[in-house]
């Protein structure tokens, strides 16, 4: 009886597999991001840190972080910008060098846990309700129910002396959140027409998952990776304090761990500078991550 006027406007929230359309979402995201002032400040600071890290990695600066020829606990001066620590190492060089460590930890953990989370999440979601899903959910449940620091400590001890024990432990616990989000998204996506269409014309399941479904969860992965990055460098601090952190080299966490004995003697250089560097990066990353979430959240696009 009733007749409906056509709706010629393309609904933005419908996800289809047209890559042109996906591009437009990304273009939009970049556009939105560039207008988010706090987000851009965050991103610039992160990039600045990243350049510093690259410089360390290339051996351009902070190469003298391990030298021990300075005086003990020198105050800030033209020679030692941030003073020196107990064994005469330059706190400035160490704070700078730690930027590399932070990115190493953050990137390794963020990338690996995102990959694992994406794969397992996608598998669980695609095969939701089957034994594959059950097993992955079980694994996730198990890993989530072991207290984090105990788990990391246990992994560190089990892999005694392995320099990547901390990374392994973090990756094995951090993927679960990503996995859960991806699983949910995949369950939603797999009922979309483009997936059913692909299935109908006999595209293999693996191809469906990797070519058609996973790319559409990319916005989740990106946001989640930034969150994991922050979580990883923050955890590193605690783990280093507990003696489970970075093994060779130096990190802000190790500097803060060193400082716990110094601060009450009035030597604040390690504590203050490591804290400032750490806070700066985490804060910037949080700001960037927030902006990214804002830019990628279609609901927010609609409401603003």
């Amino acid at each position: 009886m009733s007749s409906v006027a056509p709706e010629p406007v393309v609904d933005e929230t419908v996800v289809d597999d047209g890559s042109a359309h996906r591009e437009s979402i990304w273009a939009k995201t970049v556009y939105k991001l560039r207008r988010d002032r706090l987000g851009m400040v965050g991103l610039s600071v992160v990039l600045l840190y990243f350049i510093v890290a690259i410089g360390v990695w290339l051996g351009i600066w902070a190469t003298e972080w391990g030298d021990v020829e300075g005086p003990k606990w020198a105050p800030m001066s033209a020679e030692y910008w941030f003073g020196t620590n107990i064994i005469g190492q330059d706190v400035f060089a160490r704070a700078i060098y730690s930027t590399k460590t932070a990115f190493e930890v953050g990137l390794v953990v963020a990338v690996l846990s995102t990959i694992i989370g994406a794969l397992l999440g996608a598998l669980a979601g695609f095969f939701s309700g089957t034994w594959i899903d059950e097993i992955i959910l079980w694994l996730k449940g198990v890993l989530d129910s072991i207290p984090f620091y105990l788990f990391v400590a246990a992994v560190a001890f089990a892999l005694s002396g392995n320099p990547y024990a901390m990374h392994i432990a973090m990756v094995s616990t951090f993927w679960t959140t990503t996995g859960r989000l991806v699983r949910g998204e995949v369950i939603k996506l797999k009922n979309f027409e483009f997936v059913e269409a692909a299935r109908a014309i006999g595209v293999p399941q693996v191809v469906i998952i990797f070519r058609h479904i996973l790319p559409n969860t990319f916005h989740i992965l990106l946001v989640q990776a930034t969150i994991v990055f922050v979580a990883a460098i923050k955890s590193e601090v605690i783990l280093s304090f507990l003696g489970l952190g970075v093994q060779d080299g130096v990190s802000w966490g190790l500097m803060i761990a060193e400082s716990t004995q110094e601060v009450l003697a009035g030597f604040f250089n390690n504590f203050v500078w490591a804290s400032v560097f750490l806070f700066g990066l985490v804060m910037a990353f949080n700001m960037f991550s927030d902006a990214l979430q804002d830019a990628l959240d279609p609901r927010k696009v609609a409401s603003e």
Partner: protein, 317 residues
């Protein structure tokens, strides 16, 4: 009856989880964990003495036998005595768990309650300056490492360089005022850090709920904003809130207080467990990890039942 049946089903369903947790923990913490042998040795040991101690500690038994023993201990809840102090594990737990609970409960509750309050305020003033201040504070709180806060707070509140108003460390509690003195600084630190995350999370939950159609409906029928917040929105947000709170409980009980306990020298379960890891005190580890897993399953169950209480759409199937 329905709930009871559900509870039994759910608890049985939790068995694979408990098995998984115990197995992985056993593998990591016990089988590949630190070796107690060399701490129990005298200064100039012979190979024979080493073997004797390994035998005493049961290290020479095959893996599955040891895991089997563990499961048996889980079933009977009898974990024997600590390898370090010889104190029965049950006594250790009975001594330390209440301390940990007493230590973290105030911070945990206040952290969440204040978080929800701030989130309500921020959500109410959404996009306004108050919201921006609160969220700015929350991002700052999220960006400061817990360790930094703990160190700084101890200097500020407890040391003779600062206010010198609270005990630096320890746990010498004879009265309620002692208790307050000892928990104040740890609680403040916990709240400070938790608040950032909690406020942000709860605000997101509330704001999401505020954009729902039924909220607009309620507004369209003249519901006052206050009532809207605490009746409609809060109750609708209970599922994520409950989830967050409930799931932190098992972890908070054990590891949440680890840093606090070791820095403030409070003999709670977190410190004891951590010490057990670093010294390879396996009976304690087995008990803590196993019981945490069981606690998790129970938490899952209670959480589900709570869901049912706050949301009629959830069915206990």
């Amino acid at each position: 009856m329905e709930v009871l049946q559900y509870a039994i089903r759910k608890l049985l369903g939790g068995i694979p989880l408990v098995l998984g947790v115990t197995f992985i923990s056993f593998l990591l913490m016990v089988y590949f964990g630190p070796d107690k042998t060399y701490e129990l040795l005298g200064k100039n040991p012979t190979q024979e003495q080493i073997d004797e101690i390994r035998h005493e500690l049961g290290y020479d038994k095959p893996f599955m036998v040891r895991y089997g023993e563990y499961l048996k201990q889980m079933a009977t809840l009898d974990f024997g005595a600590s390898d370090s102090t010889g104190e029965p594990v049950s006594k250790v737990l009975a001594r330390t768990v209440p301390i940990s609970l007493a230590l973290i409960t105030p911070g945990f509750i206040l952290g969440n309650v204040l978080g929800i309050l701030l989130a309500l305020i921020a959500a109410y003033h959404r996009s306004g300056p108050i919201d921006k201040y609160i969220m700015g504070f929350s991002v700052v709180g999220m960006s400061i490492s817990f360790l930094i806060v703990v160190i700084a707070f101890q200097i500020i509140f407890s040391s003779s360089y600062g206010l010198n108003a609270f005990p630096v460390r320890g746990w010498n509690v004879h009265s309620f005022s002692d208790y307050l003195r000892y928990i104040t600084v740890p609680t403040l630190a916990t709240i400070f850090v938790a608040l950032g995350y909690n406020t942000r999370f709860y605000r997101a939950v509330l704001v999401e709920e505020m954009t729902r159609d039924h909220v607009r409906t309620a507004k369209a029928f003249g519901t006052r904003p206050g009532k809207l917040l605490y009746k409609n929105i809060l109750k609708n947000s209970m599922i994520p809130i409950i989830t967050r709170i409930m799931f932190s409980i098992p972890l908070v009980v054990v590891s949440g207080s680890l840093i606090i306990e070791s820095y403030f020298g409070i003999p709670g379960i977190g410190k004891v467990t951590y010490d057990a890891i670093t010294t390879g005190d396996q009976p304690i580890l087995k008990a803590v990890v196993g019981l945490t897993a069981v606690l998790f399953v129970i938490t899952l169950l209670i959480t589900d039942i709570l869901y049912r209480v706050v949301d009629p759409r959830v069915s206990l199937k």
